[in-house]
């Protein structure tokens, strides 16, 4: 080193010519540096290895462990979400009992021994691709050929995509079908057997849909589409995730339809164009002239450009759109008003009435569901925020006597209100609109009072209101076996009056 320093001080760095001795000395240092860089590489970026399991009533993923160059999975991790297995040691042997899905009250049994490849399932001998292991009290079976264990044990159809690490039980897999609607520009429709919720993001002109929890499969890996807009699609399964890449000649946009069972892919609009992203079709018909840049969508549809969830952005235009969220839906019935009358039916009926009242006041409306469909909390937030609403109303019902209006309170205490000009945090976007939400609740209570309906205004920790970037309230109506206890049209009319009062030029302040 001393020698090098002397050289460096004697001549400018660019003119230094190291002799062979100096090169030999620098070589080990370079190796050390390279070695350090190798160990300091960002290992956290590597995704943990897993298998995604799709059963008719459960979707989950389990970790993959490597021993002696072989991959293993925990048998109890795999079986537990499907039933209540019992694992008992019997000397060196272990016995696993799982409820037999074919005959209730009976059990399917499996016997195995640690370190042995031979196992007995329902009295029949079979051989594993590698010996069973017990590590930290967890029974591990080799991943390769796991179907030979699961088919007799569970007595169900098992399809295992080993390279993609996706396991389908009981015929859970459903194929993706695509339909290219030629036109100027063309639209590519992807149809699914059930509602899907992929993670969508774009890379250049390619739109990438990643399905983690949806049991979708494609039978073609690469497909040429031969269209001006769509050049082709590629399907890949890797580490429990199915990825469908749609390649285009221009940036693409994904749009959900048919309550999430269809994804329509079209050309993305030019980025500088400001506008609202969602509205109801009926609004389109009644007010076509006022809503430039509005993309017509069917009921319950939402536009999802880029990744999900997208950043919550404040509206850039002054368009007045109301998003109505009929609480619950599908498998989420909400409160049982009576054994035969779930909350979801009352909220949908009231939402339709409110939409009608708002439309008669020439206000654009978007409903988060217009049928008995499952809409997750995240889907509600994404659809609502992309509609860039001025007002968001969530509707609920309960068996009681009181009519209540709830203003959202955030779970985290904030010392200063959020800046609307910056990106808003997903969990607390409402923080930038708390004052307007409070004022809207007071206006709604006032409008109800004018119609001789007494409403309490109360704070509530209620989703999806926390994440809504707009004035937001929730309304809970009292209900009994006959439906809403108070006249539905009076409630809807009063709420519409209060909302119309917020519209610029509508007699109120926004």
């Amino acid at each position: 080193m001393k020698f090098d320093l002397k050289i460096c001080t004697a001549k400018p760095a660019s003119t230094v010519r190291r002799g062979p001795k100096a090169r030999i000395r620098l070589l080990p240092i370079s190796y050390c540096l390279l070695l350090c860089l190798y160990f300091l590489r960002p290992v956290s970026a590597a995704e943990p290895e897993k298998v995604s399991v799709y059963a008719p009533h459960a979707r989950y993923s389990i970790p993959v462990l490597s021993f002696d160059g072989r991959q293993y999975i925990g048998l109890l991790d795999l079986i537990e979400p499907l039933g209540t297995p019992e694992l008992k040691p019997e000397g060196k042997k272990w016995k696993l009992r799982v409820p037999d899905p074919k005959s209730s009250g009976k059990f399917a049994e499996m016997e195995f021994e640690q370190g042995s490849s031979a196992i007995k399932i329902r009295g029949r001998q079979t051989t594993l691709s590698a010996p069973a292991r017990v590590e930290n009290h967890r029974l591990l079976l080799p991943l390769h050929g796991i179907g030979t264990v699961l088919i007799p044990l569970l007595g169900t159809d098992v399809t295992f995509h080993e390279s993609g690490r996706r396991l389908f039980l009981g015929g859970a897999a459903s194929a993706i079908s695509s339909e290219l609607r030629k036109g100027e520009p063309s639209i590519l429709a992807l149809h699914f057997a059930e509602t899907v919720n992929p993670n969508i993001h774009s890379e250049g002109n390619a739109l990438i849909l990643s399905f983690t929890r949806d049991p979708v499969v494609s039978f073609t890996e690469n497909q040429a589409l031969n269209d001006k807009l769509f050049s082709g699609s590629a399907y890949e399964e890797k580490n429990g995730v199915a990825t469908l890449t749609i390649n285009g000649s221009a940036p693409l946009l994904a749009q959900f339809a048919d309550t999430g069972r269809t994804i329509l892919i079209s050309a993305a609009p030019a980025p500088p164009t400001p506008g609202v992203a969602a509205s109801s079709p009926s609004t389109e018909q009644t007010q076509p002239s006022t809503e430039t840049g509005v993309q017509p969508l069917g009921p319950g549809e939402a536009v999802l450009p880029g990744s999900v969830p997208p950043p919550v952005r404040r509206p850039t235009t002054a368009m007045f759109v109301v998003v109505i969220d009929p609480g619950h839906g599908g498998s989420d019935t909400g409160a049982r008003i009576t054994p035969n009358l779930p909350e979801k039916e009352i909220t949908l009926s009231l939402a339709r009435k409110l939409r009608q009242e708002l439309q008669t006041r020439h206000i654009a409306v978007s409903m988060l569901r217009d049928s008995d469909s499952d809409v997750t909390m995240e889907q509600r937030v994404v659809a609502a925020n992309l509609a860039r609403p001025s007002v968001f109303v969530s509707l609920h019902a309960e068996p009681g006597d009181s009519l209540r209006i709830f203003t959202p309170v955030l779970p985290t205490a904030s010392n200063s209100p959020l800046e609307r000009n910056s990106f808003l945090p997903w969990q607390s976007a409402q923080g930038a609109y708390s004052t307007e939400s409070g004022s809207l609740a007071s206006a709604a209570a006032g409008a109800l009072d004018k119609r001789k309906l007494n409403a309490q205004v109360r704070p509530a920790f209620l989703q999806p209101l926390h994440s809504i970037a707009a004035s937001a309230i929730a309304v809970e109506v009292p209900a009994d076996s006959k439906g809403i206890k108070i006249p539905e049209d009076r409630v809807a009319g009063a709420l519409a009056d209060a909302i119309a009062g917020r519209k610029p030029g509508g007699g109120g302040t926004q």
Binding site: A335, L410, T412, Q427, P459, A460, F461, H466
Partner: protein, 196 residues
């Protein structure tokens, strides 16, 4: 005719076989009992005893739509996690009594409370509490607020509370109140003050 010595030998062998059988049966029973005890998760020792203290419970009154503070006496351990669990058990016990100002489902209980850095309390509630909980924005919120504010009042060092159900995250308590978020005790106390 079997010789006498053979008869004696056979009798002895028969006795030995029967004796071994009984011994093996006993061993098998003992081993089964051992396994059963091993898998039994019930506590075998009483919790750490502490002095009887006055706890302040934030009680929800559904009919009036308000919160009121009530004092109860209870033996509370000094260890923070055990103390937090005892405080919440006292609150749930209050609600399970008859008449109750805010009814909870029978069997509602706290599985455990974990303290993280003494500031974050992770409260694991049992399935019975959520499965039998009445569905509604206000009633669900009242349970949530009451639990968190009672915890923060009696353990002032707790600044954040996270609710789990049987060790797992859940979106809502019974369809409405958000329990996926981590709650700031200050935000909760602000609401309690408004509704007192």
């Amino acid at each position: 005719m079997i010789p006498r010595n053979v008869q004696i030998t056979l009798t002895l062998l028969l006795v030995a076989i029967l004796g071994s059988g009984v011994y093996i049966l006993l061993l098998h029973r003992n081993s089964e009992e051992g396994l059963r005890r091993g898998s039994d998760q019930r506590p075998v020792a009483a919790p750490v005893a502490g002095a009887e203290q006055t706890l302040k419970l934030t009680i929800a009154y559904d009919e009036d739509g308000v919160f009121r503070t009530r004092d109860v006496s209870a033996v509370v351990p000094s260890e923070p996690s055990a103390r937090a669990k005892a405080v919440l058990e006292a609150l749930i016990g209050y609600y399970l009594g008859k008449p109750s100002p805010h009814e909870l489902a029978e069997g509602s209980a706290v599985n455990s409370v974990f303290m993280v850095n003494q500031k974050l309390a992770v409260v694991d509630l049992n399935q019975a509490l959520v499965e039998g909980h009445r569905s509604g924005v206000m009633v669900e919120d009242f349970t949530l607020i009451s639990l968190i504010d009672t915890l923060a009042t009696n353990l002032p060092q707790v600044q954040q509370v996270k609710i789990l159900i049987n060790g797992k995250e859940r979106d809502t308590l019974a369809g409405h109140a958000d329990i996926r978020s981590t709650y700031s005790t200050a935000a909760i106390h602000k609401v309690v003050t408004q509704l007192q």
